[in-house]
Symmetry: D2
Subunit: 354 residues, 4 copies
């Protein structure tokens, strides 16, 4: 694959807060990318990212990045509310863009980015990092190739102690991870039709610190996400229950992050009659397999995919559309909370434009 | 305590299915109780419970129990739908009653049992077993004495592989545990005001196999319960988040079931102004203490409490009223599901009577 | 199997201390056995085992058991030092015997029991309980059928807080478990040739509280056992490293006690030459499989095997010879400690007779 | 502290294999150090460490480092066998030295380094990284200030899959970690007097792949170390058992690496008489505390300590002497293995010189 990549892609990182340094480190380490700039409104933060003994340029002026003709792509890691304006400016300057999750803070904005990128023939990639982990990749494949059978439910828990973002609530901060994983694992085909959300701010932070999100799908599939900034223990566990296998992904278990269980409940007999309760219930309780996964940093795969997409003209696994789908669910969650937790229909494509 | 108990309380167990054998074993082992009968419609099941070399009587005729004047109390472990009629018959025969959870399958029925027991001066106890574990007891005390501060959220997960009950769904099967723990831990004072529920039956079992339950309290406290019959892994974890300590109870960790974290997010500064987001956020990240707990079987405490309540005339920790409160929430959950997951008000006391 | 068993085997339990109650409970529950007596020098302890409402007889007079012609077998759960005299008396009275581990406190005594049982045509079974767990059974089978390849090392850790036995040290108390598992897993074929032991009594208890035991085998296989009464955490983990699979048995992990790893280091190339370090090292890092195991109480299998051996005339998996082999290693460990931890040869069969 | 450091210390890293990149990264990140050179016989490896966009120099010629008058200190991360010659050359060129563990491959060599550094007034520091973790630091303090009481035993397990070093066996590869931790935790005062070791090479690698090491101390303290290259699971657990508290350090548990147990066995009564077994045994089974530890990279502390030692003229926590003590035990382990596992006296200081 890397044989096709003639020259490294020149990239600038904009935003040197929490995520920017990780992007910079991976862009430096990746043979397919070349980090030219780190840009932050506070120059000292940009400097800290690259260190003293570096040849990477730093700046506090975004225009330096836009005006540098050598910069082919920009990785945007600024606060969520600024994603759309910064990414638009980059696209308009003819640069490919990788945007940290969430792609934007409204579906309309996210869709606008997609449209502009499409029009300009530029790569717009959403940094849905977890989709590039070996575990999620493996679940995705096991669903896609039918090994797991039909997906029945997804339950995802992402809780820890931390009020990371001042401008967004716990849904917009953490749930993009779970929603992007869900989107990737279910790979095309099924989209949620209704969304219900419950939120709480028991410490008076002014934004939701605890959130519960339920997605109902046409197929009967239910997905539930628990995000929480107030938990003393850190949990990162996603269960993907399907008819033939159930996957449990515990991202904090380095020994075996992924477990595939040959367990489940099967119903046999006449299920169409009035008395379906009489159906024979059979429990499968077979082996568990923890597949060997190649441990590597997911973000390294992200920047490699960015480079490949630019050089080979392919579509990244987590493109702008994926970013839009995630933002649409987040928006619907907000409407559900406003409606006291009632289940709301997920707006059809395009209908969210203002 | 046992010094006050003149003679062991003579008890009959009705129902020798899943829970009855545990009741029988504990009644046999407890010095304050004397097991006289095990009754089941299938006599062989009753026989299996007591074994060959026993002096306990077995019967398939409920009247044998009712008519035995030596029987002072009956432990009811029959299917949930039969609780009310069996318990009523016992009370009317002048016998104290311990009823397996849920106390009844409707709040009206549960309230009727309470009323009859009250009128007759008999003990009506709900077997909310988990309230008698050392861990829950400790959380209850730490909330009651102010050590934990104000409770902010409760998150409880009770999932495993199993379709135990043919006549009830996953809410009525598993959630009584979480609801009774919640009721006991918050001990008086606060009751939920609104309930929302989401359910799924992705395998076509005819009843909900996966359930999510959200309780909103006047105080801003949120409680969330996840019950699931389709999970390949067994989880029994309850987090009680409070302003000064956060308790994490993992009932499957025999080494330290209970962890008390000195962790949290504190807000300081002006929280009343428009710009409360500017408030200073301070993270507490102190030690975790896993208190030494005396490991003992909770059900042994249940039967002891039953005996004490009868002999000393005291009220059991988990009385009929506790059973009523749990059933009320379960009923409200059903109404929420019927309303598409919308949050519904918890019916005020008495209003559920038919 | 149970179809062949005409009538239940009548059994007496002698010793109602720590282990006796477990034996009694399982003998009561097993359809192939009938518990007639529980005997203990302290009658109240025997009574506590069977409870008030029972038809099992209790006695503090061992002769009551010996003289009861209906008693076919005796389960001995007395202090280790008394095993040989009690078991001998039983055998001489024509009764089959199940002896708690260790079979005796010297190899000579253990061999004497084997000889007498052999001569009398009676079953002599050692209660090496762990050999009857589903996990150990599975490892045994996977070694026996070649799935695991050649066993290379065994590392067993059995540590917790507890000074259970006043008359024996930590080796004689805990290591019989590990040694009997080792004996069963390696099933015939290979016996250790040298034993080295290190012991410590850092609290001044008068006996070793911490012990390390190393067994060297002809094949190059090394086995190491760590037993410890002073550990705050309880660990029960045995690793069986073999050329094709490595088994890790964690008896305290109810979710998956047994893990079979397709992992290892393979050497290829010329391994006979002087420069074997040049050999190609290849790491296998394949999947881990946690096989589904039928969870059941091992002691139930023990009493069933006792009954089958008596009725069918078969040899129990853990016969008297197995008990002898374990005691021989324990004796050798004592000699090693006396010799300052030096490795000592395991006495050849028969050579330990006085 | 950093206020005293006038200018960053200029450092060169020699050796860009496994550990060198970590040293380089931390030297770059530390404000008190300035990385000038990365040197490796394979220039491409040196280049990979610093990346393309860097101002750090790379070379495959060690003399470039020695001859650069700006280099004040050298971090040596070459194969163990070359430590002594490289470190000597650095010291003779007037440069301070940080040497990866083990300091040397013989006690005589290690002592020579200490002597030369002493004579030259240069800092000689051994990179015993684990001594700079928050967990080990805390155990060290709790032993030093008496909180833990008298140390009774140490049990350390360091096992995983990996044949990292071609030139040294598993003892020299992994045990320096455990021995340096032991040395630091017991801080002065007590040194081991006897060492016994057992080794195995069941795969025919030509060097020991599994090792067990027992250290006996004057005080009765026993320390045991299990190192293993053939384990499918990774374990990094050290138990420090003391009379008042027992510390369990599980380095792979990010949630709480360190647990302090108020558990133990206390003996009371007459312990001097012949019948000390009659002594009253009391079990303490109090709370467990997992102290809040500041998570930070230990190696960052190492390079900071190096800088402080050079600028402030203080002695590093893990100086050359600490390196010598560790090597002495490793040498004794080799003698024990040659003697068939017999316990050997630890050579007195100086007696190992050739």
């Amino acid at each position: 694959m890397s044989g096709n990549i003639a020259a490294p892609v020149s990239v600038a990182v904009v935003g040197a807060g929490y995520w920017g340094p990780n992007l910079a480190r991976n862009l430096l380490a990746c043979p397919a990318t070349d980090l030219r700039w780190v840009c932050d409104l506070e120059l000292s933060r940009a400097r800290d990212v690259v260190g003293a003994r570096t040849a990477v340029s730093v700046t506090d002026t975004f225009d330096d990045v836009l005006n540098d003709p050598h910069v082919e792509a920009v990785a945007v890691a600024t606060p969520a509310a600024t994603h759309v304006s910064i990414a638009l400016a980059c696209l308009e300057a003819g640069k490919h863009v990788l945007v940290e999750k969430p792609l934007a803070t409204s579906a309309a904005d996210a869709e606008k980015l997609v449209a502009v990128a499409e029009r300009s023939g530029l790569v717009l990639m959403t940094d849905h990092t977890y989709c590039y982990t070996a575990a999620v990749q493996r679940i995705h494949e096991s669903v896609a190739d039918g090994t797991m059978g039909q997906v029945q439910y997804v339950d995802s828990v992402r809780i820890n102690l931390g009020l990371v973002q001042p401008d967004i609530d716990v849904f917009w901060d953490l749930a993009p991870h779970d929603l992007s994983i869900l989107d990737y694992v279910l790979a095309g085909g099924c989209s949620p039709v209704r969304v219900a959300a419950q939120a709480a701010d028991p410490i008076g932070a002014g934004v939701a610190c605890i959130g519960y999100l339920t997605l109902q799908f046409e197929s009967g599939l239910i997905a539930h996400i628990h995000v929480n900034w107030l938990s003393p223990t850190k949990i990162r566990t996603t269960i993907v229950g399907a008819s033939r296998r159930i996957a449990v992904w515990d991202d904090l278990n380095p020994t075996h992050r992924l477990s595939l269980y040959d367990k489940g409940v099967d119903l046999c007999g006449d299920l169409t009659g009035a008395d379906r309760r009489q159906a024979l219930v059979a429990y499968r309780s077979g082996d568990m397999v923890a597949p060997a996964l190649r441990e590597k940093e997911a973000l390294q795969e992200v920047v490699r995919e960015l480079a490949t997409s630019i050089r080979a003209g392919t579509r990244p696994r987590t493109d702008g559309e994926a970013g839009v789908r995630v933002v649409r669910v987040l928006e619907a969650a907000g409407r559900s909370i406003d409606a006291g937790g009632a289940s709301v229909a997920l707006a059809a494509e395009g209908s969210t434009e203002r």
